[in-house]
Subunit: 221 residues, 2 copies
DNA sequence: ACAATATTCCATGGATTTATGGAGGATGTC
DNA sequence: GACATCCTCCATAAATCCATGGAATATTGT
């Protein structure tokens, strides 16, 4: 009635994919890849990893079936194997945050105090359609290019201070970034608030927006 | 712009939850818990683990926030921390199967050849409502008691052969069990087929049925 | 063919994980 | 209170994972 060895092999096979999610650096790489494809050294730099270390982790993700590769000239671009992988990553984040206090603590320690106002995807959608808010995407330009919320302006956090003049006065500014655990929109909202703007931020980010099947502009057509 | 140490701590915190999914035995325990709560030694026996080993894995799942405990007299019952955990487990299975050939191979090696006909949840729902099929739940009675598809008869695989006479002749029999990777319905369908019944099986199982928010009978009211 | 760039492969030492058996705690029974 | 049951905690040895640096491989440009 079901060979126990075969059964163990099946569960071990599933665990191989689970293992890919068992290391913080690999999750950080997945987090980046959830915003669009990237080359190995771009990933290594963005995640603060040694090149060989990043390569090894990416191999592990590939073995687990979570990412695929594409060669373009001399460099190799990694990307998520599918939207279900993005969904798996997002769900892991949600479960970890909901059911484990230590995760929530680490999150607030990283993102800083909840001193800026947030709004939901639905609220954002309303305001954008009504034109009552300016929406800015504070992720790196590369990620904006790979797909963004329709109507959003690309203002990477790096450039925000220098480009404050571009933002209309007296209108709400809504910032968003990668996802629920991304610090960029928090910092953007703080900066905007301190300069007299009425600043809000999207509670989560591009990852959750895409998974909710809301409209996306740019990127792979 | 975002303390790198704090950032690493956040991703490591997420990875703590991911680690829970990185071991085959732990996934097997989750698989059992997805059918309902159980005590430690029941889990150890069902998963073929030593008691202390099972306890250690359950502690790991608890630390990760995936399960909670409830004491009842001298024994401690573990259960999933929420339906989102069941969803996470189901999604991991789906991703592993879809994107990794080795997983699919291990699955077919365990479940056996695809020599029995399967049907989807929607098809099953139609037949049950129309009354054109007899539905049997071939999981252990304990799991049936914790919740089953409305109208299903509890016929644990162990007892199926002895209780064949209970099944009406000339009517389709549909068997289901725990989920997409559960062997019980495959074996039940083979047995039924070899005894002259027209036997089908649900393509997945109770886990996916519940996650699809389809009606469930029995269990926690 | 040769050099340059991007990535993977390989070997290594240090840290982490796992299974197991025995001791220790909590609860219920007599 | 003594005892049995169920579970957790602790110590240990084997296996696995991780970061790192140097060598090997693949592609492009000269």
């Amino acid at each position: 009635m079901g060979d126990p060895t075969r059964k163990a092999e099946l569960f071990d096979a599933l665990a191989q994919t689970g293992k890919a999610l068992s290391n913080g650096k690999r999750l950080e790489l997945l987090d980046l890849l959830a915003q669009g494809e990237r080359s190995v050294d771009a990933l290594a730099r963005a995640a603060g990893l040694g090149l060989t270390t990043a390569s090894a982790h990416l191999q592990a993700l590939k073995q687990a079936g979570l990412v695929t590769t594409r060669r373009s000239g001399v460099r190799i671009h990694y990307r998520l194997a599918g939207e279900d992988v993005a969904a798996l990553y997002a769900l892991l984040q949600q479960v970890a945050r909901t059911h484990r206090a230590a995760t929530e603590q680490a999150r607030t320690a990283y993102l800083g105090p909840e001193d800026t106002e947030q709004l939901t995807r639905e609220e954002l959608l309303e305001r954008v359609q009504a034109g009552t808010a300016t929406l800015i995407d504070v992720r790196p330009a590369e990620e904006y290019a790979a797909g963004h919320i329709p109507g959003a302006l690309s203002v990477p956090l790096d450039e925000l201070e220098a480009r404050l003049a571009e933002l209309p006065d007296g209108v709400e500014v809504v910032a968003y970034c990668r996802g629920a655990n991304c610090v960029l929109s928090h910092e953007a909202a703080r900066l905007l608030g301190s300069r007299g703007h009425r600043a809000l931020r999207l509670a989560d980010g591009m990852l959750e927006w895409r998974l909710a099947a809301l409209p996306v502009e740019g990127g792979a057509a």
